[in-house]
Amino acid sequence: MIYLDNAATTKMYEGGAELYKKYACQSFYNPSAGYGEAIEIKKELDNVRSLIKAKLNSSHGDVIFTGGATESNNLAIMGSRRNGKFEYIFSEGGHPSTYNVAKELERQGFIVHFVKLQENGQVDYSQIESLLNDKTRLISVEHVSNETGAINDILKISKMRSLKAPKALLHVDGVQAFCKIEINIDTLNVDLYSLSAHKFHGPKGVGALYVKNIEPLKSIVFGGGQEDGYRSGTENVPGIMAMGYAIDKADVNDNLQKASKFNKLLKSMLERDEHIHINNIVGSPYIISLWFEGVNGETLMRALSGRGVIVGTGSACSTKKAGNRVLESMGYKKEQIKSHLRISFDEFLTEEEVRKAGEIIVEEYNKLRERVL
């Protein structure tokens, strides 16, 4: 099987799984307990916090462990809410775990603005600039789009913010970026940054939220006061340790080089077919967004899985619901959206596998195309 849906989830490291087992079955103590064994665990968790900060190139700030990026995004957004006439700005390209939180804010009566996407997948910076003012409370954008791989220029947004809305918080959903591309959080001057372990070979059900200045954040989950009261509930120790393992393992530069190589190779193979269209995205080499003339993306996805090649449809999958919010925001036509697929790499792939996948994709597409046209 050739797995090309790494933006959906990734395979866990064997070493991480072993570590997970160790902290589930041997060093299973509750880090909030007072005895020596438990205190050791607490220290180990703090080491993982340091690892995350190091990967983010952060010199200060805190890390809160969560149950994954959805929870991190909810904490970042809902925890930043303030009463009064504040305004909240969201990217239309956000993952449902930011977009639907924004919708909920709107439902609760907050003033929420959605920023359109450009055709290249990035947010419309000029729209953000025009929306920023001294009432802006929060700007939330995705670092790398999970649908298209588009990379937003966070530095640019951050600078705009400093100039026009210095009191506003900047939240970045870094799920598709962390451990994949170089991040310098200090330079970017980001306040809140979300990540999820299972997107970089860690376990599912664990993530973190980086917080530059914890003071303004308010908890949304109440209980035993773990994570300094910002996320009550006993920490998922095995998950966090296995996430730490994955962070330690990740060689961002090497990963990036491999992804770029695979990206280039596959694009060159697919582009030879005049009916296959690679979307023109300014983005991450880990993700290729493309569409296939005349063939339903989902149908092709199933045909490919029958041949052992796993690709993603992104959130275009519920075919009876109209379209795909992200691609629509970029101005794509209905037929392009219906025929859309997402291919995403990891560093475990080989060139040979990618080449094989390329051949199968072209072959299966043409088989289907002949049958349906």
Partner: protein, 384 residues
């Protein structure tokens, strides 16, 4: 002793066949309760389920409510059919501040006191015991029922719970239900089951055009029908080749019509293979283009030797949805997976197809080979 008193419908209309129907109903009841401990007694005009675990009472009642052929049931106290025993039991009714009515039925005419007289007597007794209660014959808050049966027992109960009605499952034979994954076809299966038809089901899928999830959905639907229909053999047939062949060779407005004609042929062939007596569909007149009178004429036209039952034919969509919600298939039916009818969907499906035009279109296909191919790839999933 607490018992469940079961009443069945007009099986007595069935003349000499009555015992066949009754035995089928009893067998279905016992099958339905096979996981429970209980005693079953058949008396004239009633069945009695007793000796069950008290904690299972609600579960048993729920199960019995799904048995076709039962009309109503009551959880009752069983006592010896004597004036004293009945009075003793009746007195336990606490009616303080409530209005009530006593209804006595006497199947056993040897019982010494006539019904009306006994009801009055029991009412008087209850009024004595509950000075704040009152009698209301038209709209009482509590009904006190006394059913005196031929088996020397009397049954005292307050509530009559409506059951499915209909005829015992299997008493009308066995048929093939076309199960698409939509709202209507499971309802059609339920309605025909209620008329005594046991069912097998047939589903067409079009991998890779339709998702595995669509097939899983139909399996779930079949499973949701089993409380009513018992075990169902689900026949799953790949329709990909047929759809591609029609798409490539025939005019697109006839896509759905031609598809359905082939589905019907496959269904009839499977009926012959498995000795099934009819085809059941969820069609409702005029609901969509393929369910007009003309459409049904041409799709039904290929079936030579089996009747096609369409129990939803005269129901509005809202009525069908109501039944689907009642029987518990609605939530699954509205899951958004494509079924094979939504693939290659023409923009303008023909509303008044004709047999002549269909036959002309079909000349461009090798119908027999396509039907054979469908049959060859048949997969049977036993749903319990």
């Amino acid at each position: 002793m607490k018992v469940i008193l079961l009443r069945f419908g007009p099986l007595y209309l069935k003349g000499n066949n009555r015992y066949v129907f009754e035995n089928m109903l009893i067998s279905n009841i016992k099958k339905k309760l096979c996981d429970e401990n209980f005693k079953f007694e058949k008396t004239f005009g009633r069945y009695v389920v007793s000796n069950y675990e008290k904690s299972r009472e609600d579960a048993i009642v729920q199960k019995l409510k799904q048995v076709f052929g039962l009309y109503s049931l009551s959880v009752a106290e069983e006592v010896v059919a004597s004036v004293d025993a009945i009075k003793n039991e009746i007195e336990k009714n606490e009616l303080d501040g409530k209005s009530f009515k006593v209804i006595v039925k006497r199947a056993d005419k040897n019982f010494p006191v006539p019904s009306m007289e006994f009801a009055k007597e029991l009412g008087g007794l209850l009024l004595d015991k509950n000075p704040n209660a009152s009698v209301d014959l038209y709209n009482p808050m509590v009904e006190v029922n006394v059913d005196i049966r031929m088996n020397g027992k009397a049954y005292i109960f307050n509530e009559t719970i409506k059951c499915q009605g209909g005829l015992p499952l299997g008493s009308a034979g066995k048929a093939m239900l076309l199960l698409s994954g939509g709202i209507d076809s499971p309802v059609a299966g339920y309605l025909m089951g209620k008329r005594g038809l046991e069912l097998e089901a047939l589903h067409f899928y079009s991998y890779p055009y339709t998702s595995e999830l669509a097939k899983e959905k139909v399996i779930t639907l079949a499973k949701e029908l089993t409380p009513y229909l018992g075990k169902i053999d689900l026949h799953v047939v790949s329709f990909t080749k047929v759809q591609e062949a029609i798409h490539m060779n025939c005019s697109s407005e006839y896509m759905i019509t031609l598809m359905r004609r082939i589905m019907m042929r496959v269904a009839e062939r499977l009926c012959e293979k498995y000795s099934l007596g009819a085809i059941v569909t969820g069609e409702s007149l005029g609901q969509v283009a393929s369910q007009t009178m003309n459409s049904m004429t041409v799709t039904g036209g290929v079936v030579n030797n089996k009747p096609i039952f369409r129990p939803c034919i005269a129901l509005d969509k809202e009525d069908i949805i109501e039944v689907a919600k009642d029987i518990g298939t609605y939530k699954t039916s509205v899951l958004p997976y494509e079924d094979c009818c939504t693939v290659f969907l023409p923009k303008n499906p023909v509303i008044k197809p004709t047999i002549e035009k269909c036959e002309k279109e079909e000349k461009r296909l090798n119908i027999e080979a396509l039907v054979e191919e469908c049959l060859a790839g048949e997969e049977i999933i036993e749903i319990k």
